[in-house]
Subunit: 337 residues, 2 copies
Amino acid sequence: MTDVMSVLGKIGRRVDAEMLKLLKVGAAKDFHEVVFHQVKAGGKRLRPAMTLSFCEAAGGSQKDALSAAAAIELIHNYSLILDDIIDDADVRRNLPTTWKKFGLSFGILASTHYREAIEEGVLRSPNPIAMSKLVADAIRDIVEGERLDVLFEQVEHGVEYVDKHRYEKVTIKDYEKMIGKKTAALIRAACEAGVVCAGGSDKLRRAAREFGWKGGLSFQMADDMLDLFAEAEKLGKQVGKDIYEHKLGNIVILYSLELLSKTDREFLLKVLRAKKPRDRDVVKVIEMLRGCGATERVQKRAKKLVDEAKRALDKFPNKEATKLLADLVDFTYKRSF
Amino acid sequence: MTDVMSVLGKIGRRVDAEMLKLLKVGAAKDFHEVVFHQVKAGGKRLRPAMTLSFCEAAGGSQKDALSAAAAIELIHNYSLILDDIIDDADVRRNLPTTWKKFGLSFGILASTHYREAIEEGVLRSPNPIAMSKLVADAIRDIVEGERLDVLFEQVEHGVEYVDKHRYEKVTIKDYEKMIGKKTAALIRAACEAGVVCAGGSDKLRRAAREFGWKGGLSFQMADDMLDLFAEAEKLGKQVGKDIYEHKLGNIVILYSLELLSKTDREFLLKVLRAKKPRDRDVVKVIEMLRGCGATERVQKRAKKLVDEAKRALDKFPNKEATKLLADLVDFTYKRSF
């Protein structure tokens, strides 16, 4: 297997430089530290690695897709800045979040600037009109996914609209719709963007979308696992954040609701619905979730998605690039199972 | 003189329908009331009227520019949703603001969706790449203008970055930079977009930019007057909002600081810097501002800009359309002087 971390590191350095270049356009010097903060906090750069690899897989070269790859990673970072405001989150990647460090006003201004840095990347890509459509669709999907994620929260918001539309129950189908929009849509766009930059056929675009969609769903399931079971330091944020944030939209929690005894299920829901859950209750809930058989179900579901994603790679001519893509999707799956 | 209000009303109906169409793309049915709220609150639709008129002035027809005009007006509304969050504003056009009605999370999600509705309008315009550049530049300028506006506020934010970069003094040059970015840049883009949709020459694009820039500066000066001296009901929001929000970035206030006696100047600054200024002190300040000769200076400055803007129209062949544009810029000037 490829040394995925070292490949990602190499790609990351090129993508990071390109992102900073795009963020600099039209930003006053005094504003740099605000807009650079989120990107400089780091990240795996998985999405741009997929864009660059799909460009190669479809017969292009990485440099054709660099601006598009940076735009895709900027979308991810744009969504994180906004997410942290919406979730009232103080820490990400062991650093204060943008809004926490610079205040709400500047958090919002930074995110607004990000969207135009994304546009700059779109305009510098080989097929700006196709890229623009991909980007707009992906961001609208993220908004809808985030909307559902908020509505799945098990807590009164005190806002009429939100409380009226809240979900009391969430099915696995609701959940897959939510993570499809929130997470898989952008990974799908990352993959398709690579083919677009290579000038690849519609058939290859569809195959890349298939890979991104299935890989994206399994990625979010792995992320749900990490949220609950990772070590705090490795995670770079609070463990059990989903529980503290009253989120029913976590696959482990949803499967557990089917598997736990009535008493345990009621305890889980009580903790999820508590205004301020006690730390020791969250720890207890996490132990329950770990032991009830839900993680094995999640693993099985995610593994199936990963296998289906990898089959979509058969259609591509460049076997070296597709090998890396298969390793990438395995990597995202294995980091939590 | 043209009946400007009736012309704006007619244009407004077409632009409003187009904006709703763009906002509907990719929005779940349950999300419609959230994203429609800001646009349905109304507005003069001055910017799209300029886009449509410049398209005609440069030899095109209004329908060529309808999507672009809607995109421009959506930028304005996008900035208002964000502005209201940043300024913690509850009421606009006699209605609750989007974030106030739907909560902060949904206010942010709505604004994020607006940006993609703008992109949709860009993509449907006759020259999407040129439009995309215009739009990205304009939004980055608005962010920078808003950044300066916040930094001009005469109050501690309790955020290290903001308090470090705050302006203790604001010159007229600082002020014009701020309103140039915050207000004039979008009006300039609205005008240039019309010429772009008509496929007009670079010379005409430059002339439209000149008109939009000067007209935009005078427009903001008129707006500064209205903030302080309009009737509350007509204004649709609180009178003296700039004072309550500690804003030094108002031309009337800046000129007054030069004209008032030392005692009055100190009183003005004290009220601007008060955490929660008393209503009767704000009323007293407004009376001082009205009587000190500042408004006459503002009027003279704005009149000069309006005259220069109108001269830029000489370069256009279609005299009927340019007549309307001249009336529009006069209208924005006269509504407050």
